[in-house]
């Protein structure tokens, strides 16, 4: 190639060679790498556990070794315990990564995280209500309470954000979310102050864990997640336009307010499912979009895909570590997420590439 890199960039800017959202090689390689890592983690997650079934035996089972297949305990460990957890981790990761990326783009606010729409505080409040007044204790009952509460809270936030003359403005969305989130948080504290017994169960719920998740709990969530992801993909282009500012987006034929509310609805669906499965983990929805922006630059579709993959990778890694750090006990996954993700976020923020991506206020 005799063309210099600068010339090639110039040519691409004038005449895009393809319509693919992944025009940059970095993003494609990053996505491929993340998928490979994810597959590796999924395999590890099926092999490693807290129980007595060894990794070697689990490997035999996965290969289809007849003697391993006949072992009922092994089957239980791999299919009934580890597989649901693995699916749950990937599901939660994809949900939070996508939702965080959408929300940060829609509010044009890099500090926005998935709990901002009141999903987390609404879910927590509903769980506390369920525990205190309705005697809900089983994990699937709590999951239902969390899901309904998170959705209800974010619906209220969206109604506020959609009302008035400045409907759908980013500031309105952010402030409505913060304000109502604080209200739910306060009400949760109020109920908890009166009932000591609830507080202990709530403590363990809020700390988050994927232990004890069953496939039957996950299945009803899949359609909700699918709808959220479809909206996310459909919104990639309008969101790119919003990145140029509302006026430019309008002149390109988009309706900024409407796009924002639609996106926020998708965020509520995705974040609601994540909270229901794993408790209120807000941090991942902030970390993944940051990392994705560092890799993908300004391309929205690439950001969404990378953000989902990164979050899934981090989530499943945290869950694997949760099983082995203090064997034979479980560590709460949110704690390990912080131990893995905290330093990761610091490292990304210190890398020079983000100095531009983070400043979009």
């Amino acid at each position: 190639m005799s063309i210099t890199k600068g010339d090639r960039l110039e040519a691409e800017r004038v005449r895009p060679r393809s319509r693919s959202p992944f025009r940059s090689r970095t993003a494609v390689w990053a996505a491929a790498g993340l998928v490979a890592v994810l597959l590796g983690f999924v395999l590890l997650s099926l092999l490693i556990g807290t129980g007595s079934s060894s990794a070697a035996r689990a490997w035999d089972y996965l290969r289809g070794d007849p003697s391993a297949r006949a072992d009922a305990q092994l089957r239980l460990a791999v299919l009934e315990v580890r597989l649901p957890r693995t699916l749950a981790a990937v599901l939660v990761g994809v949900c939070l990564g996508t939702a965080g990326c959408l929300l940060q783009a829609a509010t044009r606010n890099p500090l926005a995280e998935t709990g901002l729409l009141g999903v987390n505080s609404g879910a927590a409040f509903a769980v506390v209500l369920g525990l205190t007044f309705f005697g809900a204790t089983s994990s699937s009952a709590l999951l239902l309470w969390a899901l309904v509460g998170g959705m209800a809270a974010s619906a209220v936030v969206l109604l506020f954000a959609a009302s008035g003359r400045t409907a759908g403005s980013p500031l309105r969305l952010v402030l409505a979310g913060s304000a109502l989130g604080a209200t739910f948080h306060g009400m949760t504290s109020y109920v908890l102050l009166g009932t000591q017994s609830t507080y202990d169960t709530y403590r363990y719920w809020t700390i988050g864990s994927l232990a004890g998740v069953e496939t039957s709990d996950l299945l009803p969530l899949l359609p909700v997640v699918a709808v959220g992801l479809l909206i996310a993909l459909g919104c990639a282009r309008p969101l790119s336009a919003l990145g140029l500012g509302d006026d430019s987006a309008r002149s390109l034929g988009h309706r900024p307010g409407r796009v924002r509310l639609l996106v926020a609805a998708a965020v509520s669906l995705l974040a609601g499912c994540a909270v229901a499965v794993a408790g209120p983990i807000a941090f991942l929805g902030l970390l993944a979009p940051y990392a994705a922006r560092a890799l993908a630059g300004a391309r929205m579709a690439a950001q969404l895909v990378l953000s989902a993959l990164i979050a899934a990778d981090v989530m499943i890694l945290a869950d694997i570590l949760a099983r082995i750090v203090i064997r034979p006990w479980e560590t709460p996954v949110s704690v390990l997420l912080a131990f893995v993700g905290g330093p990761l976020l610091v490292w990304i923020a210190r890398s020079s590439r983000l100095s531009t991506a983070g400043a979009a206020a």
């Binding site: 509010t107 044009r108 606010n109 890099p110 500090l111 901002l116 506020f160 009302s163 008035g164 400045t166 403005s169 980013p170 500031l171 309105r172 969305l173 952010v174 402030l175 409505a176 913060s178 304000a179 109502l180 989130g181 604080a182 209200t183 948080h185 306060g186 009400m187 504290s189 109020y190 908890l192 102050l193 000591q196 507080y199 202990d200 403590r203 363990y204 700390i207 941090f283 902030l286 970390l287 560590t331 709460p332 704690v335 390990l336 912080a338 131990f339 993700g341 905290g342 330093p343 990761l344 976020l345 610091v346 923020a349 210190r350 983000l354 100095s355 531009t356 983070g358 400043a359 206020a361």
Partner: protein
């Protein structure tokens, strides 16, 4: 002194030029009005907060206690027990308000509250560690909170290695570090018995219970030192409203202003959280409300302090009369502060500032 606008085009619309011979002063009309409205309001709220209690106390008795003209018993109750507590609350509110104003202005982002720099998590971790380390599960001395908060913030600053553009790097690193510290607290807590957990929970909700003169004096000393500095930093931050290049052209040393403003925010928020616990929402809401009051052209440092103080005083008073049990101030600020902020914002339906 005569008020005159010799250059009406150059005088900000919310100010008046006061001249006396060769001296002149740009008098901020609107901000002065706001302060003139907020200060009596706070005094009224203080009186109400002292009145409000489960035992009840009529207004005349409260006033006589405050002025020292009542019977000795009343004077003692008012001056020794209730006034110090309300005073501490007001100082905590003011500190939170200013800290929030500084960080929000710096980042140009309404979500950039001081709790992102790790003060809440740091204070909580220190308190949790003290409770876990003690045999009784009791939370240790009041100075643990501020110590933990400032230590966490120093750790954040060290990890960030600079504020970055608009302070963003510091804020993001702050999120990472405070999440990490929070996880450590969670880990300690998950190993503790329920007694300890209950004590820590009460602290973590944000409560002024048992906060009295012993905390008040160091708190007041710190504020007397920090608030004037914050007011000066606010003057400089006015110029950051434009973009960085413009500010640099106007002769602002950006790096220094950012560093100083952040340091002040950390110190103020750390002290406030350490004393009052992580009282939710005041640092977010006070600057927004103050901005509404003082108009879009100013950095409302003083206004945020007054608004924060008013919010906490009101929440403290309400928390004592609203329910059969006394509600911690943090619960009241979150439950009622949220709708109040929404009402203020949605009533006029104008957006100021950037999100």
């Amino acid at each position: 002194m005569t008020a005159s606008g010799t250059h009406p085009a150059l005088t900000p619309p919310d100010s008046t030029v006061l001249r006396a011979g060769t001296l002149s002063w740009l008098f901020p009309r609107r901000s002065a009005l706001v302060a003139a409205f907020l200060v009596p309001l706070i005094l009224l709220l203080i009186t109400l907060a002292i009145m409000a209690s489960s035992t009840g106390m009529p207004l005349s008795q409260t006033l006589s206690g405050l002025l020292g003209t009542g019977d000795p018993g009343t004077v003692m109750i008012v001056r020794e027990f209730r006034l110090p507590r309300v005073g501490v609350g007001i100082m905590v509110g003011a500190a939170l308000g200013i800290a929030g104003c500084l960080t929000q202005t710096l980042a140009g982002n309404r979500l950039a509250t001081p709790d992102l720099i790790g003060v809440n998590e740091g204070a909580t971790a220190a308190v949790v560690a003290s409770a876990a380390g003690s045999a009784t599960g009791m939370v240790g001395g009041w100075w643990l909170g501020p110590l933990g908060a400032v230590a966490a913030a120093v750790l954040v600053v060290l990890c960030a290695g600079g504020a970055g553009s608009r302070g963003y790097r510091l804020l993001v690193v702050g999120i990472g570090v405070s999440t990490f510290i929070g996880a450590v607290s969670d880990l300690i807590m998950s190993r503790e018995n329920d007694n300890t957990a209950g004590g820590v929970f009460l602290w973590a909700v944000g409560s002024l219970n048992g906060r009295d003169g012993s905390v008040g004096t160091p708190l007041l000393t710190a504020l007397l030192f920090l608030v004037p500095l914050a007011l000066m930093a606010g003057q400089r931050l006015q110029l950051l409203r434009f973009d960085d290049d413009m500010a640099a052209c106007l002769g602002v040393d950006l790096r220094r202003v950012r560093a100083v403003a952040l340091a002040l925010a950390v110190a103020l928020a750390g002290i406030a959280v350490g004393v009052g616990g992580p009282i939710a929402f005041v640092a977010l809401a006070a600057p927004i409300l103050a901005q509404r009051l003082s108009g879009p052209t100013r950095v409302p440092v003083l206004g945020s302090a007054l608004t924060g103080a008013a919010l906490i005083a009101a929440a403290d008073a309400l928390g004592r009369v609203a329910a059969p049990v006394e509600l911690p101030v943090g619960v009241v600020t979150s439950v009622l502060g949220g709708p109040f902020l929404l009402w203020v914002l949605l009533r006029s339906d104008r957006t100021t500032g950037k999100a």
